[in-house]
Subunit: 207 residues, 2 copies
C-alpha cells in the first residue's frame, strides 16, 4: 500500500494490525516489519507512532482486553435481577468467550507475556478490575472475584478440552462436559452465599 500523506487512523490501524499478527505468529513472531506490512504503513511510521515494541504490545493488548470487557459491561448491564445476572454470565462464557479461536490465542499470548514480564500485569490487572466492576453490578466484591476466576477457568478448560484431533484416543469423556446447564450450576454455586456448609468449612480452617 502506498504511503498516504493524511492518515489520521494510521496509529489505530497499526494497533489492530499488531493483534492480527500476534494472533497468527505470536508475540515472539511479531516484528515491526510484519506489523507495518499488515497495516499497510511504511516501516518508518512504526517508530513515529510507538516508542518501541513494548508500547505497541501494551496498546494492542489493552485494546483487546477492553473489547472483551465491553461485552461484560453490555451483558451484565442489561441484566435485571440475580437470576438474569447469572444467566448473563453463562451467556458470556458460552456465546462470547468460547466462540473465537483468535480470542483464545490472544488471551494466552497476553497471559504468557504477563507471566514473563511483570510490567504487562498492569494490563491483566486493569482487565480483571473492569470485569469485576461489571460483575459488581449484581454480586458482592468477594463473590465477584471468585466468579471472575471461575469464568476464566471454565472458559480456558472448555477451549483446551475441545477439538483435539486425537480426541478418540483419550479416555472416554463425559458426553456433555461443557454444557450450559453445567456452567449454570457452577455459577449458581459460586454465587450462593448463604451456604451453611461453607460457614462450617470457614470455621474449620480457622481463618
Amino acid at each position: 500500500m502506498a504511503t498516504r500523506r493524511f492518515d489520521p487512523d494510521r496509529r489505530d490501524r497499526i494497533i489492530d494490525a499488531a493483534l492480527d499478527v500476534i494472533a497468527v505468529e505470536g508475540v515472539a513472531g511479531a516484528s515491526h516489519r510484519k506489523i507495518a506490512a499488515r497495516a499497510g504503513v511504511p516501516l518508518g511510521s512504526m517508530s513515529y507512532h510507538f516508542s518501541g515494541m513494548d508500547e505497541l504490545l501494551t496498546e494492542a493488548f489493552t485494546r483487546f482486553g477492553t473489547s472483551i470487557s465491553d461485552r461484560f459491561d453490555e451483558r451484565l448491564g442489561r441484566a435485571v435481577g440475580i437470576d438474569a445476572a447469572r444467566q448473563a454470565v453463562v451467556d458470556l462464557i458460552h456465546e462470547d468467550l468460547l466462540d473465537s479461536q483468535r480470542e483464545l490465542v490472544l488471551t494466552h499470548e497476553l497471559y504468557t507475556l504477563a507471566a514473563r514480564k511483570p510490567e504487562f500485569r498492569r494490563i491483566t490487572r486493569d482487565w480483571m478490575a473492569r470485569s469485576r466492576r461489571a460483575l459488581g453490578l449484581h454480586f458482592d466484591p468477594v463473590t465477584c472475584r471468585m466468579l471472575d476466576a471461575l469464568i476464566e477457568g471454565l472458559s480456558i478448560h472448555a477451549a483446551l478440552d475441545t477439538d483435539a484431533q486425537d480426541a478418540q484416543d483419550t479416555e472416554p469423556l463425559d458426553p456433555e462436559p461443557h454444557s450450559r446447564a453445567r456452567t449454570a450450576e457452577a455459577v449458581a454455586r459460586i454465587t450462593t452465599t448463604d451456604s451453611t456448609a461453607s460457614d462450617r468449612f470457614r470455621e474449620a480452617t480457622h481463618e
Copy 2:
C-alpha cells in the same frame, strides 16, 4: 560438555533442558541448538532422540503436566474426609501452584501452544483428566470439573494480579485479594451441592 559414549540419561536430560529453555525463551525461542547446549549434548543427538521439535515439546510438556499432577495426587490422596479434601485444594493453590514463576510461565506457554495447535490439546486434556481423577477421590464428577476450573482460574488470577511493578498506579485494591480464607470460601461454595438456590436457578434456566 564433551560427547559421552555411554549416556543412558541423555534423552531424559534433553527433555529437562527443553523445559529450562522454554521457561526462559518461550516455545518460540526454543531451538534444537539452544536445547542441546543446555543439555550438554551434541546437536546431532537431538535428531537421534526426537523426530522433531513437536515430539520434544510433547515430551517436555507431558513431563511438566505430570509433575504437577503428582502433587495433586499426593495432597488429595492423603486427605481423609471432605473438609480435609477441601483444605488440600486450598493448599494446592496457595502452596504449590502460586509458588513458582517458572511453572506459571510454562503453564501459559503450554496453553498458548495448545490454543494455537489443537494436536497439543492431547496434553492439556490428559492433564485435566488426571487432576479430575485426583479430585474424584473426594468429589462427584460434575463437582470435579467445576472445582478444577476454579483452581485454574484462581491460580491464574492470583499470579497475574501480583507483582505488577506499577501496582501503586492502579485502583485501590482489596488488601487481601488472594487470602487463603477467600480461597477456602470459594472452594466451599463450589463443592456445596445441596444448595436450594442452585436448584432454583437450574429450573429457571430450563436445562
